[in-house]
């Protein structure tokens, strides 16, 4: 097998990991720029949604598409409940306090998942049966191609939602200045509810895409979540295109490091990249610094 073929293969499977990272990062950034919450429960929200899909699929024998759709709806409801029951009434509304709140939520959700669905590894059926496709000397896994493509479809859908719908415009307005948006008569609470729902849906979508490449268990999303944070920070916490760029960059670079440099180094590579990027660009590649008024 030639060097070029290895490169193409790494690029494609890197892009499929990148899709998952980018989706996680998008959910994190979407929530952060609107609510100023660094959501550590993002991964566990996704895992919970995936467990719901898995249960519908295997226990109730509901067809594939429908059970995934129902899981996304359930995730949206959970997201709204988290906002209404935990985030809104919390007395500690500082940025750090809310961060800790989501850490607590992550622990509680992970504990609930373990209690309800068990700690054992489960195999999530894939949308397509995995085959190895060969193009000349390049062999590519069908699942990783589908993962990459579905990721792109979801990102385009989110972009369309934010650009062309009233809800999207309202979300962007609240993200810019919450008080002004409220003064202009926007229903800020509803918009924030929708943001939480969208973030939870994105989390579940990412987890559903990621699950077939690994095994489903309560800690499944720990690694993609930390990589998603890294991707979001590399791209800039308030920039959605930055999240996508960061996700794909990280996914591809990480795989190239694994193939060409060393496999051991691959795991810690992401965290060295983030420190390097932040030293050079403290607000990420595409992020804008918050303007502070004195």
């Amino acid at each position: 097998m030639g060097g070029l073929d290895t490169l193409v293969q790494s690029l494609v499977s890197g892009a499929s990991f990148g899709s998952v990272y980018a989706l996680v990062a998008l959910g994190l950034v979407l929530l952060y720029r609107t609510t100023r919450i660094l959501n550590f429960a993002h991964g566990d929200l996704g895992v919970t949604g995936t467990f719901i899909a898995y249960t519908l699929l295997t226990q109730l024998r509901i067809p594939f598409g429908l059970s995934f759709l129902l899981a996304l709806v359930a995730a949206a409801i959970i997201g709204i409940l988290v906002y209404l029951l935990l985030v809104r009434p919390a007395k500690n509304q500082s940025e750090l306090g809310l961060l800790i709140l989501t850490l607590g939520l992550a622990l509680a959700l992970g504990g609930l998942d373990a209690l309800f669905f068990g700690n054992d590894n489960k195999i999530v059926p894939t949308l397509v049966t995995d085959r190895i496709l060969r193009f000349g000397g390049v062999s590519l896994s069908l699942v990783s191609i589908v993962t990459a493509l579905l990721g792109v479809v979801l990102m385009v859908a989110l972009w369309a939602l934010l650009t062309y719908t009233k809800l999207g415009v309202a979300m962007r307005a609240v993200a810019q200045r919450e008080d002004v948006a409220e003064a202009m008569g926007l229903p800020v609470r509803t918009v924030l509810m929708a943001t939480w729902a969208a973030a939870a849906v994105l989390a579940t979508a990412a987890a559903l895409l990621f699950a077939p490449t690994t095994l489903l268990n309560p800690t499944m999303m720990l690694d993609p979540l930390s990589k998603g944070f890294v991707a979001a920070v590399i791209g800039g916490m308030n920039s959605l295109p930055g999240a996508v760029l960061g996700g794909y960059m990280l996914g591809i670079l990480e795989l190239l490091v694994g193939v060409y440099v060393s496999l051991e180094f691959k795991a810690s590579f992401a965290f060295l990249v983030v420190i390097l990027v932040l030293v050079l660009k403290p607000h990420g590649l595409l992020g804008r610094p918050d303007v502070k008024r004195v």
């Binding site: 660094l38 509304q93 800790i100 850490l103 504990g111 403290p282």
Partner: protein, 325 residues
Amino acid sequence: MLFRERYENDLWLIRGSQAWVVAGLAGALLLALPFLVKGYLIYNFTLFFVYALVALSLTVLVGLTGQVSLGHAGFLAAGAYVHAVLTQHDWPFLLALLAAMAVSAVLGVIIGVPSLRLEGPYLAIATLGFGLAIQQILNNWAFVGASTGTIVDRPVLLGIDFYGDRAYYYLVLLLAGVVTWMLFNIERSHVGRAFRATRDADLAAQMSGIGLARYKTLAFVISATVAGLAGALYGPLVGYITPESFNLMLSIKFLLMTLVGGLGFLPGALLGAGFITGLDVYLSTFRAWSQLVFGAVVIAIMMLEPAGLYGRWLKIRRFWKSWPL
């Protein structure tokens, strides 16, 4: 002595006769404790001292200076591993302790200097990355035992064998006590005030002649050094360290200690360390529920009392002292 009215009030380490009585009783209790309780409780109290050191160090960083760290287990790991490797190469215990603190301090500078330009989420993720990177480097480094970890012995100092739980308890109590006293002193000195000034209004602090770069880095270095010391004491306590002992969950627990106790109060860090360590030990008997209960407790405290346990205590005390006003 309800509110601070004069500058001298700010300087007192222990305020008023009641505080002296409380401090004296607590000290006597801690000294007598190994003869009052069973063996495994002595171990748990020693663990509490170690965690309290980390919680205090994190309070200096997060509470006083306002810089978040989600990777404090990394500093703990650095201290523990440096100490373990050096004592295995026949370094004396105390020298290895100093070396562990020095290496941790250097790491503190390495993380602290870039952190000057980072704020909020960026710093949180950078420190998170630091903690995870340290863990993964140790995991792949054959020299320090990779993922199987390494054995750490308890020391023999001045002819005294600290192998027993009770003897080691006193050693940790002594070192932790001295460092705690030093941290309380830092907090009430001009350095502590500079830390709080950079936290509350960094621009105003800079205008008043406080070098932000200097104090923000200093906070990181102090915090990392103390965490390194805690790591060096942690290794011999548990006897066996693996990279997995310093995972993200531990960093999160340290952050929880500072917040549950009351962010920005050093006594709060002690309360929080006691609360979280106690909860951890208590919940370890029923594993299946522990994570859920842990999360629920954290959520409850964040939702109900932003000032933490110590903040609640201050409110209660203020209420009774000024009653019936």
